[in-house]
């Protein structure tokens, strides 16, 4: 169980950067008042960020990922989280066999 010094410093730098982003928002709202417009913007952030994170995977990776993403979204409207994840994972694995991956 050894830790390389350069690796340790890199992990520390990543941790400091991440903690700064996590605390940053709390500090920000102490100085900015939240009006009707700001509230609407803040409410749009959750879905917009999540959509941005998944869009490249869901839309431009390949047909297996796109179809599996759609299947997961449909499953999510009527099944619990874990079952929907399972449907996504299983369907992407099967579809990759069908399409042979690598697009």
């Amino acid at each position: 169980m050894s830790v390389d010094l350069n690796t340790f410093l890199a992990i520390l730098a990543m941790a400091v950067a991440t903690i700064a982003t996590r605390i940053g928002g709390l500090v920000l709202i102490r100085y900015v008042t939240i009006g009707e417009n700001q509230k609407r913007a803040l409410e749009a952030i959750p879905p917009a960020v999540l959509m941005a994170v998944i869009a490249p995977t869901a839309l431009v990776t390949g047909p297996a990922e796109t179809i599996a993403a759609a299947a997961t979204a449909v499953a999510a409207t009527r099944l619990p989280l874990l079952a929907s994840v399972a449907i996504g994972v299983i369907s992407v694995a099967l579809l990759r066999q069908v399409f042979g991956g690598a697009w």
Binding site: S2, N6, M14, T21, A44, E65
Partner: protein, 217 residues
């Protein structure tokens, strides 16, 4: 919040396995998961990992990948009335995407309490650290995670969370703008600018459609 923990376990295992394949020791993998605790940036770090590791490059990429946390903590921070000052900051240290999304959903119909938040975040954190360690040790046995689709567990969880935020046509416009901006940016620019671009596009559309709101279910 069992489903969330079960969903994070394969991702933790895959991360540990990927990191071990990059030459990190189990101790280093555990340290990173425990101190950074941000899956997206940890996977990106593995993509650009060098020997010896460059703290500047890795620190900067973690900052970019996690810049969305500023928006998240601003958003959820306004809903922590029941938290003392120190508890607010402590809770933000465990603000992962999934924790935040769950907390936002909870906040839309109940008051957030420190006990509820800890009950969600602490087991999730422990599961992430422990499965990373396990993955680092048994990584070789998993084989290629892509073959069994495990790499898709992370996007699948996000898709499900997005569906939970659906409130009608306005949400559709926000999502469409975010998706378009993210895909275009992803094709044109290296790195993780696409997340910032998608977030910005979604927020702009929400502000523009601000005239007519109300009547949400």
């Amino acid at each position: 919040m069992t489903p969330l923990i079960v969903a994070v376990m394969p991702i933790g295992l895959v991360f540990g396995a990927v990191a071990a394949a990059k030459g990190l020791t189990p101790a280093e993998v555990t340290l990173m998961s425990a101190l950074v605790f941000a899956g997206g940036s940890q996977f990106v770090a593995m993509d650009i990992w060098t020997h010896p590791a460059s703290w500047a490059a890795l620190g900067f990429s973690a900052l970019l990948v996690n810049i969305r946390h500023v928006l998240m903590s601003a958003s959820i921070g306004a809903k922590l009335e029941g938290f003392s000052g120190p508890a607010r900051y402590a809770s933000m240290l465990l603000l992962a995407d999934e924790i935040w999304a769950m907390a936002e959903m909870r906040a839309s119909n109940a008051k957030l309490t420190p006990a509820w938040y800890a009950g969600l975040a602490v087991p999730f954190y422990c599961a992430w650290v422990l499965t990373s360690l396990t993955g680092a040790m048994v990584g070789a046995l998993l084989g290629d995670p892509k073959v069994i689709g495990l790499d898709f567990a992370f996007p699948a969880v996000f898709i499900i969370l997005v569906m939970g935020f659906w409130k009608g046509r306005e949400t559709g416009a926000v999502l469409a703008a975010s998706a378009c901006a993210a895909v275009v940016t992803h094709q044109l620019l290296p790195g993780v600018w696409y997340i910032a671009a998608g977030a910005a596009a979604g927020v702009v559309v929400a502000m523009l459609s601000g005239g007519r709101k109300e009547a949400h279910a």
